[in-house]
């Protein structure tokens, strides 16, 4: 069997050209452009700068088939207690949508693009850049469903919306799905979204999420990547924020064999408060990549980015964070910090911060630290009688929870804290040196 080194087979059910032809005009246009783009560039290779730390050879060797079948997986234990409105997208297609939505929240399936309301039609495909990511192009060309969520002007639903994206993998042959999500938060609205990625068996998940947060609106968005151990996960989240908008984003990555989450935000208004914080937890041979791009286009914007990693075994972490401050974005206040804790000699991390500043009156700081547990702290705990293994676990837990504490909404924060604790109990507590 020959493997085309630069593309994944286009497998979304029908012939891609037919898929485009069968779509309504607005979507057919998007699909044709995406196909053309993907055909042109294919998948990134080792010489592609943006992907130089995340090799795709194993992914390119897949000959995946469209994901199908049931996924017999419940939410992680720590999230079960969270009171929320639950939406499930399985194998890239929305299941029956909840009927008891809070006031001001509308959810539509993307399964029938011809039937979607105007707010979907005018926004979908307009936030994510197919030029910036071939995987986003692939998703746009191939997605067969997903959901669009609208929080209406001024609405403030109390319960978080929990969006569960599940995929049935194969045993031997991998599956592929391209779930598509659109979130539109209208003027002055405020909502919380929790996205959870899970699956079993061998598969490639290629979700694309587009988010717009309008003038004075707020979205809290906590993302949990808890894919199965054999999964490849390449997620793209693209955001556009208007003036005085707030986005409180958090990525917690625990799953997958190889996972990359790319979050790109366009801060297109004044006085925007943008946060994209996160934690990745790696064990065994896992590879975690968190890549972010923050585009400060207007004055008085604030961005906060704290990404922490814990790596055990032979796992590997990658952080790439670019902050662009355009000439018009005076008084920008940008903070970026990337820390990684290596708990084994074979773990590895690559960190690439990148500041590109064209305005002269800005405050931007960035830093990166990579290290092991501090001997001094370990000794302090042991000198109080706490055994070494417990002392280690306490320090790692504290290190991780410090980042999770940045999640604004308390019930979501508590749930994510519990997810991290469960991971640490399994992979760090009780382990030796």
């Amino acid at each position: 069997m020959t493997i085309d080194a630069n593309t994944l087979p286009l497998v979304a059910g029908d012939d891609p050209a037919a898929l485009a032809a069968a779509s309504p005009d607005w979507l057919a246009t998007l699909r044709r452009a995406a196909l053309a783009r993907y055909g042109q560039v294919g998948l990134p290779g080792p010489r592609t700068e943006a992907w130089k730390f995340t090799g795709l050879n194993a992914l390119k060797a897949l000959q995946p088939v469209p994901a199908a079948g049931a996924v017999d997986l419940g939410l992680p234990e720590a999230l079960k207690a969270l009171e929320c409105v639950s939406i499930r997208v399985v194998n890239g297609r929305a299941e029956a949508l909840p009927s008891d939505l809070p006031a001001g929240v509308e959810v539509v399936s993307l399964g029938d693009p011809a039937a979607v309301p105007d707010w979907v039609r005018v926004t979908l495909g307009g936030v994510v850049s197919i030029e910036a990511s071939p995987f986003a192009a692939l998703n746009t060309a191939q997605f067969t469903g997903g959901v669009a969520i609208r929080v209406a002007r001024g609405a403030m639903p109390e319960a978080p919306i929990l969006l569960s994206l599940l995929q049935a993998g194969g045993d031997g042959t991998a599956t592929i799905a391209h779930p598509r999500v659109l979130v539109v938060v209208e003027e002055g609205a405020s909502a919380d979204l929790v996205t959870v990625h899970q699956g079993g068996g061998g598969y490639l998940a290629n979700p694309v999420t587009e988010i717009t947060v309008a003038e004075g609106a707020r979205l809290g968005h906590a993302m949990l990547q808890a894919e199965g151990p054999e999964a490849f996960h390449v997620a793209t989240t693209a955001l556009r924020l208007a003036g005085r908008a707030t986005y409180d984003g958090f990525v917690l990555a625990t799953g997958g064999r190889l996972a990359r989450h790319e979050v790109r935000a366009e801060l297109d208004g004044e006085h925007i408060e943008y946060s994209i914080n996160g934690v990745y937890l790696g064990a065994g041979e896992q590879h975690h990549d968190i890549t972010t791009f923050i585009d400060h286009a207007r004055p008085h914007g604030t961005s906060h980015e704290m990404v922490k990693g814990v790596l055990t075994g032979r796992s590997r972490g990658v952080f790439q964070g670019k902050i662009l401050v355009r000439p018009d974005a005076q008084k920008t206040d940008g903070f970026q910090m990337n820390r990684a804790l290596l708990l084994s000699r074979d773990a590895e991390v690559d960190s690439k911060p990148e500041l590109e500043i064209y305005a002269d009156d800005v405050k931007c700081s960035h830093g990166a630290t990579v290290g092991e547990l501090e001997d001094e702290q370990l000794f302090y705990l042991m000198a109080r009688g706490i055994p070494r293994a417990r002392a280690r676990a306490m320090l790692v837990e504290a290190y991780v929870q410090e980042a999770i504490a940045l999640i604004g909404r308390a019930p979501v924060r508590d749930a994510f804290a519990a997810v991290a604790t469960a991971w640490l109990d399994r992979h760090v507590a009780g382990t030796g040196e």
């Binding site: 109080r384 706490i386 306490m394 320090l395």
Partner: protein, 250 residues
């Protein structure tokens, strides 16, 4: 049987010999002071006693309450009753003061085969002791030593000592960096813990702390050896004459 018996103790750090034959016996209930110039090995002795890695014992023995201390890990020594009040207390970001204390107490209870301490009773007990040391509830909730002043850190050490009720308190330069008010609070806290069953080893460069914590015996450590031993009047003599004689002798 003495609580602590050190015989012919030699220790090195990074291959350099710092302690060159220390003999020291402390009976239960006694307060001993170790005074000496900078670089004499005072802090090294405190780390060797508490089991810090990188402080290698090359000769001699230490017996604590009849057990061979050098066979024990740092946490086992702490559970057995040795407490080191650090010269530079360590910051623990993300670990709250209450969590830290509870973990330390429960580690002891676990070693003794007891169940974890009742959370409410523990909170009440810690708050009571904290109040006597001028430590607020807010400080207990905060991460250990993070953002604390020098005086707050030292008071926090004494609080831990009060909660853990050790058999041997090793106070390493506890007076350094304190103003007179903080020195009094810390000394009062230490004196409140004096007990016929509890011994103390007070390591200090200056005599002033010993005005507040009266020792039974004073030792002069210089050049890695105890050069002289006397009563509390020895401290006053050192205050007047300094360590010049001993440094030359070393």
């Amino acid at each position: 049987m003495a609580l602590l018996e050190i015989e012919g103790l030699h220790a090195e750090v990074d291959g350099k010999e710092i302690l060159k034959g220390i003999d020291l016996t402390i009976e239960a209930g006694e307060v001993h002071a170790i005074m000496g110039p900078n670089g004499s090995g005072k802090s090294t002795l405190s780390y060797v006693l508490s089991g810090r890695e990188g402080y290698d014992v090359t000769g001699g023995s230490i017996r604590f309450a009849g057990r061979d201390l050098l066979e024990m890990e740092a946490d086992e020594r702490a559970v057995a009753g040795i407490f080191l009040a650090f010269q530079y207390p360590v910051e623990l970001p993300g670990v709250s003061g209450m969590t830290f204390l509870r973990e330390a107490v429960n580690a002891r209870r676990k070693a003794a085969g007891e169940a974890d301490i009742d959370a409410m009773a523990f909170l009440k007990m810690v708050r009571g002791k904290a109040r006597e040391l001028g430590i607020t509830d807010e400080m207990l909730k905060r991460a250990v030593n993070v953002g604390f002043s020098g005086g707050e850190k030292k008071r926090n050490e004494i609080l831990q000592m009060a909660v853990l009720e050790p058999k041997l308190c090793v106070l390493d330069e506890t007076d350094s960096g304190l103003d007179i008010d903080a020195l009094k609070i810390v000394s009062d806290g230490v004196n409140a813990l004096r007990d016929p069953g509890r011994s103390m080893l007070v390591i200090t460069h200056y005599q002033r702390l010993l005005n507040h914590i009266q020792p039974d015996k004073v030792h002069v450590l210089a050049g890695g050896k105890i050069r002289r031993t006397g009563g509390k009047e020895l401290a006053l003599e050192l205050e007047q004459k300094g360590y010049a004689d001993f440094v030359e002798a070393a």
